[in-house]
Amino acid sequence: MSLAAEAFVSQIAAAEPWPENAALYQPLKEDQILLSDSASSLAVQTFLRMCGLPVQVSCRANAEYMSPSGKVPFIQVGNQVVSELGPIVQFTKAKGHSLSDGLDDVQRAEMKAYMELVNNMLLTAELYIQWCDDFTATEISRPRYSSPYSWPLNHILAYQKQWEVRRKMNAIGWSGKSLEQVYEDVSQCCQALSQRLGTQPYFFNKQPTELDALVFGHLFTILTTQLTSDELVEKVKSYSNLLSFCHRIEQAYFKEQEREGQSGSSRHSKGSLP
């Protein structure tokens, strides 16, 4: 698409108000969704709630294949489909809804950098634990990922996904890491986030930004998801200000009856925060 056409499309998008029937698509919550996708989905939902934009969560077994980028979650607003948090933030900004307008240039630079830190370390660590740790892959990831499909497609798709993730880990230099090193990276990332948050209610003081939504999505999902080991949860729990931060956002943006739904199934999840 040319730049002129893109500008025209974004103008049209900006002109239309946010519809009541906007939908967010993600994999099946009960049996299929994995830690990384659940975290990304919760981050988008949190962001939209912070913006005060209504969205219906729709769970589909083939959500990954419906997405234009092959990544979940994605939203459908009118006749437009946008996937992943970054592009969704841009899309809502075009419609006049932004959480970071109050930030100065240096703060905006820091916010973007910390968002990349979460994607670069937390998200990558989640993918590593899901697919590169053989025990977790065998016990949780492959069975859940392939649950909607019948034999032999279930095995084919699960192994194909595992192979894709492992190739990516190899490309970014994570294939040589041990599970302990990955947990250490998570701890390092949490320490950086904890230092940046300090005693403030949100990362940039009084008002939440997309960084707050992203961090909450990942940390809350880690804290409420049952894995083969509790080590990942323990790493996050050792930062009390991050725990308080998660409690604060949960209280402010997620009503009592919705809490159970956000954190997944009883088999895969431990419910709301401890």
């Binding site: 092959g70 990544k71 973007k112």
Partner: protein
């Protein structure tokens, strides 16, 4: 005193202390921290202890290859450029390094390795001229394939190819990253005041190739030139910490004229032509021998007794 660690990295060229981003990061960090390294600047990655560059060889810990691992090793030996950073500054360092790796690095890979004009006229030419025969025939191409594969996996796009669409997307992200870095640096000499840290090493490693290498086709370089503080930052580090290396290999200006073909820019063009002629001649001779166009007969001659102990065989070529 223990023997110094040995650092293996790509040799200097194109106006830079090393032509590789990871090597530049490690070299800059070592200079900032004052680490007394024995540096081997080589143009054959197979001569490094890990088979890739950069690589650090220590007496106790063996060898490691990633910039982050090398920096950890140097810190263990008390060479720490981040010792006076606060906890928050340490956190910012991690965050901005992630920003570089996610946003700027893919565009840098694209500019140097994927863009056809840049690859043929600059990258392949340099590696071809600086690698020894026969590595220069296949290694640059293999490195390009690896970089393309790496870029596809990083971006999560299995069909990514050189083209306007990919370039626009990658350069958009990279330009945003450059602007964010410029805003964060402000009017400071370095990112955290007056002394350089590991973040400065990472930023320098990613910006120096764009700052110094003259690429025939790179909008990103033009964008970097517009950000005065980042230009000053790069030239400061080159003049303060690499005073000799930056003068050594000033990059050759790339002609603005359109080349006739890719072959015009082949390194060792004469040698390749000669080799291809020899291969062709050998192939024709082999064909001639196998099909019987040329035959080799063994003729046995009788000689007077006593002149030879055994019968002699003389080869004759019959055309």
């Amino acid at each position: 005193m223990a023997a110094p660690c040995e650092l293996f990295c790509w040799k200097a060229g194109l106006g830079l202390p090393s032509v590789n981003t990871d090597c530049l990061i490690v070299l800059a960090y070592a200079r900032f921290a004052g680490a007394p390294l024995k540096i081997h600047k080589i143009s054959n990655p197979w001569r490094s202890p890990t088979g890739s560059l950069p690589a650090l060889r220590t007496k106790d810990e063996g060898s490691c290859s990633q910039p982050s691992q090398i920096i950890i090793q140097l810190r263990k030996q008390k060479f720490n450029a981040d010792y006076d950073l606060s906890a928050k500054e340490g956190a910012d360092t991690l965050a901005f390094i992630s920003l570089l790796e996610e946003r700027l690095l893919p565009a840098l890979i694209y500019a140097l390795w994927i863009d056809p004009k840049n690859y043929v006229e600059v990258t392949r030419r340099w590696y071809g001229e600086n690698m020894s025969f026969p590595l220069n025939f296949f290694l640059p191409g293999r490195m390009q394939n690896r970089q393309l594969e790496r870029l596809r996996l990083i971006r999560g796009n299995g069909t990514l190819e050189a083209g306007e669409e990919a370039e626009k997307e990658l350069y958009h992200d990279a330009l945003e990253c450059l602007n964010l870095l410029s805003q964060r640096l402000g009017s400071n000499k370095f990112f955290f005041g007056d002394s350089p840290s590991s973040l400065d090493a990472y930023v320098f490693g990613h910006l120096a190739p764009l700052f110094k290498i003259r690429l025939p086709n790179c909008r990103l370089q033009q964008n970097l030139k517009n950000l005065d503080n980042l230009n000053t930052f790069c030239s400061n580090i080159l003049s303060l910490y690499f005073p000799n290396e930056s003068i050594e290999g000033v990059s050759r200006p790339v002609s603005s004229t359109q080349p006739g073909s890719d072959l015009d820019n082949e390194p060792y063009k004469r040698r390749k032509q000669l080799l291809s002629v020899l291969v062709a001649v050998a192939a024709m001779l082999s064909y001639a021998l196998f099909t019987g166009i040329v035959a080799i007969e063994h003729v046995q001659e009788e000689e007077p007794v006593g002149s030879h102990i055994g019968p002699s065989h003389e080869e004759e070529e019959e055309v």
